[in-house]
Amino acid sequence: MASSREQQIDHILRRAGFGATEEEVNSYARLAFGGPTLVLARLLSFQQIPDVVDDQIGKPGYVGITARGEFQPAVNITDARQRWLFRMVHTERPLQEKMALFWHNHFATGYTKIAGELGATEATRMLAARPEEDAGSVLGQLELFRARAMGNFRDLLVAVAQDPAMLVWLDGRSNVRAQPQENFARELMELFTMGVGTFAESDVYAGARVFTGWNLARPGSGAAQHYTFNYNAAQHETTAKEFTFAIYPDGGRIIPARSGASGMQDGLDLINAVARHPATGPRLARKLYNYFVNEVDPPDSALISQMSSAYYDSGYEIGATMRVLLLSPQFRDPANYYKRYSWPVEFVARSLKEVGWSGFSVNDALSPLINMGQQLFEPPDVAGWDLGPGWFSSGGMLARLNFAAQLATNQKFALRDLSRGHADTHEDLLGYVLDRLTPPAYSTDDYNSLLDYARSGAANWTGSDTQLATKSSGLVHLIVGSGAYQFV
């Protein structure tokens, strides 16, 4: 039975990461007696930990990937998806990968539209390539999120506004002075910063004109040719733009008329303004609170307010905001354990870490993830996935149950071997499996349902290999597929 200290570490790693193997929990527990502050400090200072997770791909002892020919995550979207799942399972920088996933949902950009316009290879490069593996040194959108995971939010907004994938996704390429295209300006205000109800339609028209000329160029030749941000001064709409909210610190609402050559500053001014807007801090804080603390109960407005203040006081630093969140007593309060619905990728990564992965390929999780409603790099629309109870419907839940069956089947013999020391009685075996996984405590009724299953079948329990293989995998299936296990 896990101690409350271990339970706390489990919780911290489920929230600030993707869960933990037994070895990882022990390693964190040894960190100065495993007090939460030191655990969190280590998670927060991930920059000091080498970013070498990708180098482990294909090595024995790690979860497998399936390559059709060469493994090419920079140009093949299926390989990119596999690499990302691999990172979730094996990263030594869990907070960075967790934040990258958060930003992917926040700035939701979909692969299929981009691939439809520019082809599969370019779309994958734009979304997933690392500069060191790409002939044109393309920084894929996911790598942008990993690099800026805990950096400055205003700078992140600028980087996203200039991100080639985003420019294609929200039709920035066709935003020209003669006919401004509203898509990006609208979503910048509605989804990425301030939120619905804080701006007027006229702000969308003005915002569209602000970003005219923010386009792409395609320099280089051969394999090095790539799409990159290019500001086209000739296409910038140069008149003044008036907004219903303050653009400048003095309260000024009008971006002045500028020449085409100087006009890129319009976009930087507007991004400054939306980052500074009084609705942005609370909205971002609330989203982070829902993701890291609790999305089930009424929110703790005091903590959200503290986070929001840190956001503004630090000059829009996500790191400062997240320090307030993670180091708060609320984050590690047991009352907030298991108060968030797991996303499908979180469910899969955690299951793999807790059940085991030897002989399993992350490729085999890709279709189940689609059935659960989450395909990486393919959010349903720019608002991201429908979080919380939105993940759960009869079909979605059945998909999770069936993935639990698939993983348990795949790990049957590994589980049998691990259970050998805990085979004296049915209760023994059930106790071992419950310890290995981290569901919240079951009610007596549910515990008895699991025990009845363990006892079902052959009259004599001998703890034989056959019985162990059957019952250990069967119990893993039931627990991982249970409603309680769907919460992190």
């Binding site: 759960f392 009869s394 998909a399």
Partner: protein, 421 residues
């Protein structure tokens, strides 16, 4: 003791939550609960359909003036007559099947549906069409409220969604909605076989039946598992359905195929949800190109609906079926700089079925942007609504579902409701 009809009925809700496989007679109860066997199929076009490209006012010169690259030539539209305002209309050239259904009198086109202060946000717009309440876009959907009015216990297959996430329109306070994105994948798998698999399912069902009052979020998740278990066997039957016509290989058609199968097998569903996306045509609508974005959308829509219509008609199921199509908004009249259209306001709804009084309802907009043109709004930029979308809902609620629209919609929207039923 085996579950019999009598024990089930006296046990009420509690007895139902204990059973795992819905007994065969449950669908009888579901059918008997309603006054009739009518099915409603809701079709959502996701993204905001440019209905000016679906139902085309091909003699309005402003249509061509304001859409120099994306207007469809008058010679290409499928003419369907004039509306009561005297405007000649034609369907998109790809809608040959829908035109045939229109000529059979089974397709109603309701022009200029919407509401005042139309939202141009996908999310807020969709929420408003889902709840039927522009003032409050949160809470149960209008069909969810219909489901909540049905006598308890509501059979978990009463509402069948062909997408994984529960559509907001069907979101109810107490009634569950079965989400069945794939009939064949809707089955319970186990690491072991035989008796062990049976024992596992037994335990899983028992665990899912635990609905702790102090943890409603867990109760909710367990209830979705429960709903899955309660519907597995009947959905498995639908997997054996052989349609009378071959459905095209696209998502919408396959979803409609499952709907037809559920009707054929008599599983007792009353409300179905299908949807198809890609309608957010900000750029490159290309309705005149063979494989243009909008052409492809119309082809998919046409082929899927025609096949569904024929399949139902061949089996005598058409008279019991009503298909209601909506989208979260229409699009701007003037094309944008990317040969596409931005978010607009009012748009047309389509209603199809054996009981439909086909025809053109409402009047087309006059596309000339003058200050005294009452059919436009937003400085002549958008189409202004003429028929409140809630009137269309009211018609369906009263005359098809046989329920109280005033109770469900929280207001009386019956006057002005087009007479397509």
């Amino acid at each position: 003791m085996p579950m019999t009809r009598r024990r089930f009925v006296t046990g009420g809700v509690a007895a139902f939550t204990m059973g795992f496989a819905a007994p065969a007679f449950l669908s009888d109860i579901a059918l008997a609960q309603g006054r009739n066997r009518r099915n409603l199929v809701v079709l959502y076009l996701s993204g905001g359909n440019d209905s000016l490209s679906t139902v085309i006012p091909y003699t309005d010169q402003q249509y061509y003036a304001r859409r120099p690259t994306i207007a469809i030539p008058a010679a290409n539209v499928l003419q369907i007559g004039t509306d009561r305002g005297g405007t000649p209309l034609g369907l998109n050239p790809r809608l040959t099947g829908l035109r045939a259904i229109f000529n059979s009198g089974r397709l109603a086109i309701v022009q200029r549906t919407g509401y005042a202060n139309s939202s141009r946000s996908h999310f807020q717009g969709t929420d408003i069409w889902s709840t039927g309440d522009p003032a409050s876009s949160q809470g149960a959907g209008w069909l969810g409220r219909y489901l909540d009015l049905l006598p308890a216990p509501v059979d978990p297959l009463t509402a069948w969604s062909t997408v994984r996430e529960t559509p907001h329109t069907l979101l109810a306070r107490t009634a569950g909605v079965a989400s069945i994105p794939s009939v064949s994948a809707y089955a319970f798998a186990s690491p072991n076989g035989g008796a062990d698999a049976v024992a596992a399912k037994d335990s899983a069902v028992r665990i899912a039946s635990h609905l702790p009052v102090d943890r409603p979020h867990l109760a909710f998740v367990n209830s979705t598992a429960q709903a899955a278990f309660a519907t597995l066997d009947r959905v498995a039957q639908v997997n054996t359905y052989v349609p009378t016509v071959a459905y095209p290989n696209n998502g919408l058609a396959q979803a409609l195929r499952a709907v037809a199968g559920a009707m054929n097998k008599g599983v007792g569903t009353r409300v179905f949800w299908v949807q198809t996306g890609g309608y957010d045509t900000h750029a490159g609508q290309s309705p005149n190109l063979a494989n243009g974005t909008y052409s492809t959308l119309m082809t998919t829509l046409n082929d899927s609906l025609l096949t569904f219509y024929n399949d139902l008609q061949n089996q005598g199921l058409l008279n019991d079926t009503l298909l209601l199509q909506f989208s979260e908004f229409g699009r701007r009249i003037t094309e944008n700089g990317s040969n596409g259209t931005d978010h607009g306001a009012a748009s047309a709804m389509l209603v199809m079925g054996g009981g439909v009084r086909g025809g053109i309802y409402g009047t087309a907009p006059n596309l000339r942007a003058t200050s005294d043109n009452p059919t436009l709004e937003n400085n002549g930029g958008d189409v202004r609504y003429e028929t409140d979308f809630r009137s269309v809902y009211a018609r369906v609620i009263e005359d098809w579902l046989g329920a109280s629209s005033t109770q469900i919609l929280g207001g009386d929207f019956r006057s002005g409701a087009p007479g397509f039923l």
